[in-house]
Symmetry: C2
Subunit: 430 residues, 2 copies
């Protein structure tokens, strides 16, 4: 279980929320988990701020879905207008999906040519894999050791993060995520080659390599620029497809580039988009090189009832407008650098801060004790910061990495507030 | 390919839409198909009416998603209000999901106790199957021969409708859908028993039986009331779970009952909901008996980023409000009966009308020639009615069943317009 997650029965609910938690357990069942020892009851959001039922304000430094900020008026208005006009599906002609797809593809390398739409990142990974298996005739997939790629049966089987009760797929091989050593790129490529070789030794034909370029759940490992080049060559040498899971790094999260893979100058075969695409409206998709879906397109029809319906496209269009007009990538780059600098300064004061890694506004901060991962301390810091009005999470294979991933409208001033609150939490001791 | 679907390159696009179709093929790829030989370019919807770019009005007798009518003001307002307030996920506490879940469960038999939320029907079927496999320890699933259950890898493997290029899962057995004979219920149960026996003979342990109680894609076969009782007994005798796919029959589609299975007085183990749940907002889910998710809940955490986010719940709540306050079930029952009567009268005039089957506002009309299914004629009628301003589809294993499935606000007057238009199309000859 991730350090930021409480079990379904939290440890110390306050009086006001205890009844709500009990109702929730009764109605939704035990699979539903809450954040924080004292879960937050939210009622309103505005830009980087969330407000609870008592009117208390929280700085949201966790949620990547509202990438242009909670309740951005441009998105709210676009959705309201389209809802009142027409909400229908892709088996009728509609102009906005075409305009949006052209704009979206313009943010991709020129090799990309199609977008296929789903409602969720899970569905998009699932579809990308269906296409990869159909095109290659193979089934085998290589992923990283603590990856998370979704919640459908197949994508949960590509998600070791979910723990031992969720079996990996029989055709799934794992490799360690790249670490921070200078030869990390070569080691990673070599591990991928070895995994494909073992796969073939078991009579399984390769279909795809699937990874998120910042290795979010592997502890946030953005790696040095360009270090994925050897990996993609290793994948292509097997005639397998390289699927970039951009659900986390996509839409400017890493600051300098719209897509995480672009930081490394590689061109994958498919890219999967999700969470921030509609600022909270359920839209996701697969962008791809047309040639990799040629046989699939001819032989398999694809329809997703709500996928890219007219309302979701209105939301996604407004998100692209805001990203462009408000200079979101530049702002995220600047805020992210400011935050990283502040974290490095903090690490000089607090020995328990280990490695600090990040790109743009996806930042991981290791907590260590005697050189070992300290999950208990990470959990304590996350909960203390929640009490002090700043929402972050924790993740990583050892659950000791503070996960900082705010809306991209997060400013340097917001970063300073986060740094002060983190410093207090560290100062308070364990 | 279903008779209502055109290949990606339609036969006779008119000048105004040809450019749009070409852009669409270039941007979305060949897997995307359009309805009708001359696809419709829609720009506005209101209750049962859709309007194209030239201002032409169409009676929508096909779309089940906008169950309370296109752009229902109650839903539009609820979504706009919630979008401007807060759109977030289920790892924070929020009251409306609890209120909604209580109301939703009140429409189910008392044995049901939890709802788990997804964004799409595909995800919901996929989750139900994950739970069934986890709980039973089995993997085998029995479905009907022309079923459609979704578009994820696993649910596409439960969807023979998608054609031979999409392989069924290795653990999937099919049975014929029940036909109209008096002993259809017993025959169906006996086929299910035989499928499970063959499954066990191959060393595969049963997990679930999965069917939609009106067998939509098997040609619309609502069957006599109560005829599924023998089937559910056969499933339970195998210690397998009975999953009712309510994506089509649910939310009052069959008129007399909120859920299709309730027409038959059976209590499944899980029910999967989808399309009409949010009148077009992507929300879907699994309602279940708590005991069937006990081990899953303990061992597997479940999170779906957009599933039951606060905006989707606002839409779903407004849909329940309208269903109750506008007496939607009663209206759908009355309109459906009126339409069925009219169709039976038409069948006395036109020998090419074969069997007519329906429950509530899900109606199938067979077209036959010399006693054989006539898919070409069904396609012709569907396209002619589109030209005459009424939108329906066609489906069934032989693609010869006109599929009439309008918003549930469809009135007897709307039904009369549909009947007149159908009569003209039949009159015009082939």
């Amino acid at each position: 279980m991730s350090a930021g997650l409480s079990p379904s029965a939290p440890l110390s609910p306050d009086e006001g929320t205890a009844g709500m938690i009990a109702r929730r357990q009764a109605l939704l069942g035990a699979s539903y988990r809450l954040f924080y020892d004292r879960p937050v009851h939210l009622v309103r959001g505005e830009n980087v701020w969330l407000f609870d039922a008592d009117g208390r304000r929280y700085l949201d430094a966790y949620n990547n879905v509202p990438c242009v900020g909670h309740a951005h008026p441009r998105v709210v208005e676009a959705v309201a207008r389209q809802m009142a006009t027409l909400n229908t599906h892709t088996r009728y002609l509609h102009g906005t999906i075409l305009d949006y797809t052209e704009r979206l593809l313009a943010t991709y390398p020129s090799e990309f040519g199609h977008v296929m739409y789903t409602c969720t990142g899970s569905e998009a990974v699932d579809l990308a894999l269906r296409i990869a298996r159909h095109e290659t005739g193979g089934t085998g997939v290589v992923i990283t050791r603590n990856a998370y790629h979704g919640t459908t049966a197949v994508t949960a089987g590509l998600s070791p993060l979910l723990g031992p009760a969720v079996p990996l797929g029989r055709d799934v091989w794992t490799v360690p995520a790249p670490d921070g050593r200078p030869d990390a790129g070569e080691t990673f490529a070599s591990d991928i080659r070895a995994a494909f070789a073992d796969m073939r030794r078991h009579g399984v034909r390769p279909a795809a390599f699937l990874a998120d370029s910042i290795f979010s759940t592997d502890g946030t490992r953005p790696g040095p620029v360009g270090f994925l080049k050897a990996a993609i060559d290793a994948v292509h040498a097997e005639n397998a497809l390289y699927i970039a899971d951009e659900v986390q790094p996509g839409f400017g999260r890493t600051g300098t580039h719209m897509w995480g893979f672009a930081r490394h100058g590689i061109v994958p075969d498919m890219a999967v988009m999700g969470k921030p695409m509609g600022n909270g409206l359920p839209i996701a998709g697969v962008a791809l090189r047309p040639e990799v879906a040629e046989r699939f397109g001819r032989e398999v029809r694809y329809f997703n009832t709500f996928g890219a319906n007219t309302v979701s496209i209105a939301a996604a269009t407004a998100v692209l407008d805001v990203i462009e007009e408000e200079g979101i990538l530049g702002r995220a780059t600047a805020s992210g650098e400011h935050l990283l600098q502040g974290l490095h300064l903090l690490s000089q004061r607090f020995a328990e801060i280990g490695d600090i890694r990040g790109a743009g506004l996806y930042i991981g901060v290791e907590l260590v004790r005697d050189g070992e991962p300290d999950a208990a301390r990470a959990k304590q810091i996350v909960n203390r910061m929640r009490e002090d009005g700043v929402l972050i999470g924790a993740s990583g294979p050892a659950d000791n990495v503070l996960k900082i991933r705010p809306p991209l409208t997060f400013s340097q001033g917001h970063a300073d507030l986060l740094l002060d609150t983190l410093a207090s939490a560290l100062q308070a001791g364990s």
